[in-house]
C-alpha cells in the first residue's frame, strides 16, 4: 500500500530530468515523461488492487509546518475516493502523454511541454492524495500554475498569453475563497488534517459555521471547476495545445472542485443551504453553457462549453448529496471528454490548425478512426444507452429528483436535451456532408499517426464500457460498492427520506434517454436532412441566436457593466439638464439681466471688498506661516520633540 508514494514521485522525477536536462535530450523528452506517467499509472493500478479490499491508508510522511500548535504534515491518504481520482488522473494522463508524442512532435519546446505535463501530473496527484487541506491547496495551486503555463504554452501568441493570465486571475478569486475557508476550518476545528477535521465535526456547532466554511470552499471549487459566474476562463483556455485541453481542462484539473466538494462531504452534509447552492449553481451552469455550445463554431470551444456543462452536472450531483454519483460522472466524463478533445485535436492536426467547423465536413472518409471514436464519445456525452455517460448522468438526475431538488433536476433535463443536440450538430458538421474547406486543405486530409490514434481507440473502448461495467445497476454497481461506503451517512439519511422504487428509476432513465434521442433527432433534422434549416432559424430568432453566439455577452458584461451604468446615469442627467434646467435658465435670464445691474454695484463694492479682504488676510498669514517649512529636517525633528514633550507632560501630570 505504501507503494502509493511512487505515484506522485515518478512524475516528479520526470519533471526533474526533463526540466534540468530538457535542452540536452530535446526530441527524446517523451521517453522520460511517458515512461514516468506510464509507470505511475501501473503503480496506481497495483494500489487499487490493494485498496479494493477496503483498506484505508492515512500516512504522515513528514512534518511540514510546525509553528506553535499549528502543525501540517505532508501525508498521503488512500481511500476509495482518492483511489478513483488517482486512477482517472494517471490513466487518462498516460494516454494523453502518448497522444502528445504525435501531436507535439514538431514543436520546438517539446521538452518544456513534457516537463509541464509531468509537473501537472505531480501537482494533481498531490491534490488528490493529500491527507490535509493545506497540502491539497498546494496541489491546487500547483495545477493552477501548470494550467497557466500550459495555456500560455505558445506565449509568443498574444491571445494565448492573455488567456493564461485570465485563467490565473479568475482562479485567484476562487482561491481566495478557498484560502479563507481553510483559515476558517483551522480556527474552528484546530487542524487541517481531514481525519482530525472530520472527527471534530459536530452538528452542535450550528449550521451557520458549516454554511460559511462550505460556501467559501465552494467559491474555490467554482473558480477551479469553471462554474457560474467564474467560468469565463475555461473557453479561453482552449488557446493551449489540445492535449492540454483534454488533460487539464476536461479530464482532471477542472474536476478538482468536484473532488474537493466530495472530499469535504462531512462538512457539506451539515450545511443544507450550501448543498442547495451547489446544486443550483451546477444546474444553471449546465443549461447556461450548453445553450452557448449550441451555436459556437470553434470545434474546441463547443467541447469546452460542453465541459463546463458536464461539470455543472457533477456539482448538481454533489449538491443533491450523491457524491458517489458525482465522482462517477467525473470518471466517465474524463474518458469521453478527453476522447472528444483528442478527436478534435486529431481533426485540427489533420487540417493544419483549422478550428472552424464551418470549414470542415465530410471527414468521415478521410479519418475513419477519429470519426468512429468521436461518434462514440458524442453518444456517451449525449447520454445514450448504454454508453458511459448515460449511467452516470442518469444517476445524477435521478438522485436530484429523489432528493426533491425539482428545479435543478428540470434544468438538468433541459441540459441533457441541449447536450444531445449540440454534440450531434458538431458531429454532423464535422464528419458528414461534404468538405467545405479549400481545395488545398482537402488534399492534405489524413488519418492521424498511430501514437495519436491508439489513445483514441483505448479511450473509446472505455467510454463505451466503463459505465456498464462499473455502474450497473445504477447506484449499486461495482463502483458504488467500492466508493459509496465513504458517503454512507448521507445515503442512509437520504434513503429514508425518499426511497425510490426500481420502476421509478427505470422510468426516469427512459425519460432522459427519450430526451437525449430527441436532441439527436433534431440535430439530424437540422444538419443532415435540411441543412438550410439552421440558417432560417437563426434568421427568424436573430436575437436569441446572437445572444448565444456571443455567449450571453458575459465577457463584455463583466467588462462594461460599470461603464454602461455610468452612461445611463449620464444620459438621464443630460435630459434633466437640457429640459428642465435650460428652460429655467432661459426664462430667468431676462430677469437676471435686469437684476444684474442692481447686483453689479453690490458685487463691486461689498462682495469684492470682502473677498479681497479675506484673500489679503490669508496671503499675509501664509507668507508668515510658510516660513515654518524650512526644508531643514532637524527643524521638523525639533517640532516633533516638542510634541513628545507635550505628550509626556500630558501623560505624567494631566491624565493620571
Amino acid at each position: 500500500m505504501k507503494l502509493v508514494i511512487l505515484v506522485p514521485l515518478l512524475p516528479l522525477i520526470g519533471v526533474l530530468i526533463n526540466g534540468l536536462f530538457g535542452a540536452k535530450i530535446r526530441g527524446r523528452a517523451h521517453l522520460v515523461a511517458v515512461s514516468a506517467s506510464g509507470l505511475s499509472c501501473l503503480v496506481a493500478f497495483l494500489v487499487l488492487f490493494q485498496a479494493a479490499g477496503g483498506g484505508v491508508l492515512d500516512w504522515d510522511l513528514y512534518s511540514w509546518l510546525k509553528v506553535g500548535d499549528f502543525r501540517v504534515p505532508i501525508g498521503i491518504l488512500v481511500d476509495p475516493l482518492s483511489v478513483v481520482m488517482m486512477l482517472v488522473v494517471t490513466f487518462v494522463g498516460f494516454l494523453i502523454h502518448v497522444y502528445s508524442i504525435g501531436y507535439m512532435h514538431d514543436d520546438r519546446s517539446y521538452a518544456r511541454f513534457f516537463t509541464y505535463l509531468n509537473l501537472f501530473m505531480f501537482s494533481m496527484l498531490v491534490l488528490v492524495l493529500a491527507n490535509n487541506y493545506l497540502l491539497m491547496f498546494l496541489g491546487w495551486e500547483g495545477v493552477g500554475l501548470c494550467s497557466y503555463l500550459l495555456i500560455g504554452f505558445w506565449y509568443e501568441k498574444k491571445s494565448a498569453a492573455d488567456a493564461g493570465k485570465k485563467a490565473f486571475i479568475v482562479n485567484r478569486i476562487g482561491d481566495a475563497g478557498f484560502l479563507l475557508g481553510l483559515f476558517l476550518i483551522w480556527s474552528v476545528f484546530g487542524s487541517l488534517k481531514y481525519s482530525e477535521v472530520f472527527k471534530a465535526v459536530d452538528p452542535a456547532l450550528g449550521t451557520g459555521i458549516y454554511t460559511a466554511v462550505t460556501l467559501l470552499l465552494f467559491v474555490g471549487a467554482m473558480g477551479k471547476s469553471a462554474q457560474l459566474p467564474l467560468y469565463v476562463w475555461l473557453p479561453d483556455a482552449m488557446e493551449g495545445p489540445t492535449p492540454v485541453s483534454a488533460l487539464i481542462h476536461a479530464a482532471t484539473m477542472v474536476t478538482a472542485g468536484v473532488y474537493m466538494v466530495a472530499r469535504s462531504s462531512p462538512l457539506f452534509d451539515l450545511a443544507p443551504f450550501s448543498l442547495e447552492v451547489v446544486a443550483w449553481v451546477g444546474g444553471l451552469t449546465a443549461v447556461f453553457s450548453a445553450s452557448i455550445a449550441l451555436v459556437q463554431n470553434d470545434i474546441k470551444r463547443v467541447v469546452a462549453y460542453s465541459t463546463i456543462s458536464q461539470l455543472g452536472y457533477m456539482f448538481l450531483g454533489a449538491g443533491a448529496g450523491a457524491y458517489a454519483s458525482a465522482i462517477f460522472h467525473l470518471g466517465t466524463h474524463a474518458f469521453f471528454k478527453a476522447l472528444l478533445f483528442l478527436g478534435a485535436g486529431s481533426v485540427i492536426h489533420s487540417l493544419h490548425g483549422e478550428q472552424d467547423i464551418r470549414k470542415m465536413g465530410g471527414l468521415w472518409k478521410a479519418m475513419p478512426i477519429t470519426a468512429w471514436t468521436f461518434l462514440l464519445a458524442s453518444l456517451a456525452n449525449a447520454g445514450i444507452f448504454p454508453l458511459a455517460g448515460f449511467w452516470s448522468k442518469d444517476e445524477i438526475l435521478f438522485n436530484a429528483f429523489k432528493h426533491g431538488m425539482t428545479v435543478p433536476w428540470l434544468l438538468g433535463l433541459i441540459g441533457a436535451f441541449l447536450t444531445a443536440f449540440y454534440m450531434f450538430r458538431l458531429f454532423f458538421l464535422v464528419f458528414t456532408g461534404r468538405f467545405r474547406g479549400d481545395a488545398h486543405a482537402a488534399q492534405h486530409l489524413h488519418e492521424s499517426p498511430p501514437n495519436m490514434a491508439y489513445p483514441l481507440v483505448v479511450l473509446a473502448f472505455f467510454s463505451v464500457t466503463v459505465g456498464l461495467v462499473f455502474g450497473f445497476p445504477p447506484d449499486h454497481g461495482i463502483y458504488h460498492r467500492f466508493v459509496a461506503p465513504m458517503f454512507e451517512a448521507v445515503h442512509e439519511a437520504a434513503g429514508k427520506a425518499a426511497h425510490a422504487s426500481l420502476s421509478s428509476e427505470v422510468g426516469m432513465a427512459a425519460l432522459s434517454l427519450t430526451i437525449a434521442f430527441l436532441g439527436v433527432l433534431l440535430a439530424y433534422q437540422f444538419y443532415m436532412k435540411k441543412p438550410e434549416l439552421p440558417g432560417l432559424l437563426a434568421d427568424r430568432m436573430k436575437g436569441v441566436y446572437r445572444l448565444l453566439l456571443n455567449k450571453y455577452w458575459v465577457d463584455e458584461l463583466y467588462q462594461a457593466i460599470f461603464v454602461n451604468f455610468g452612461k445611463r446615469v449620464c444620459a438621464f442627467l443630460w435630459g434633466v439638464d437640457s429640459g428642465v434646467v435650460d428652460g429655467a435658465v432661459n426664462r430667468s435670464s431676462w430677469l437676471t439681466v435686469r437684476l444684474s445691474f442692481l447686483s453689479a454695484w453690490n458685487d463691486l463694492k461689498i462682495v469684492d471688498g470682502m473677498v479681497n479682504g479675506i484673500a489679503d488676510l490669508i496671503q499675509g498669514g501664509s507668507l508668515n506661516l510658510r516660513r515654518l517649512q524650512t526644508g531643514i529636517v532637524q527643524n521638523y525633528i525639533l517640532a516633533m520633540s516638542l510634541g513628545i514633550l507635550g505628550m509626556l507632560v500630558l501623560y505624567l501630570f494631566v491624565f493620571r
Binding site: R626, Q629, T630, G631, I632, Q634, I637, S641
Partner: protein
C-alpha cells in the same frame, strides 16, 4: 543589586544624548550615529525590563533583537541615502540640503 530605576535613568540619559545629537549635528552621518544611540537606549530599557519584571521574561530580549535587526536595516538604508545625498549635493550637512520647502 542595582535597582531597575538606575537602568531606566541611564537609558534615559543615553536617549536624551542621542536625541540632542539628532537635533543638532549638521553631519548626516552624525545624525545616524545619534539615532543608533537612541536605539541602544531603547534596547537597554527592553532588556532591563525583561530582566526585572518576571512576567515579561525574555519578551524584552526578543524585542531588543528585533530592534537591533531593524537598526541594522536602518543604518544600511540611511547610509545609502547619505551616499546619494553626497553624490547629488557634494555635502552631507543636512542644514545645507533644504530644497524641500515652501
Amino acid at each position: 543589586m542595582v535597582p531597575l530605576s538606575h537602568y531606566l535613568i541611564l537609558s534615559a540619559v543615553l536617549f536624551a544624548i542621542g536625541m540632542f545629537g539628532a537635533l543638532t549635528r549638521r553631519n548626516a552621518i552624525g545624525i545616524l550615529m545619534a539615532l543608533e544611540l537612541m536605539f541602544n537606549a531603547v534596547n537597554l530599557n527592553f532588556v532591563a525590563f525583561s530582566r526585572y519584571l518576571p512576567s515579561t521574561m525574555l519578551q524584552g530580549q526578543i524585542f531588543a533583537i528585533f530592534v537591533i535587526t531593524i537598526a541594522a536595516a536602518e543604518a544600511a538604508v540611511g547610509l545609502a541615502i547619505v551616499l546619494g545625498l553626497y553624490r547629488n549635493f557634494k555635502t552631507i550637512n543636512v542644514d545645507e540640503i533644504n530644497l524641500m520647502k515652501w
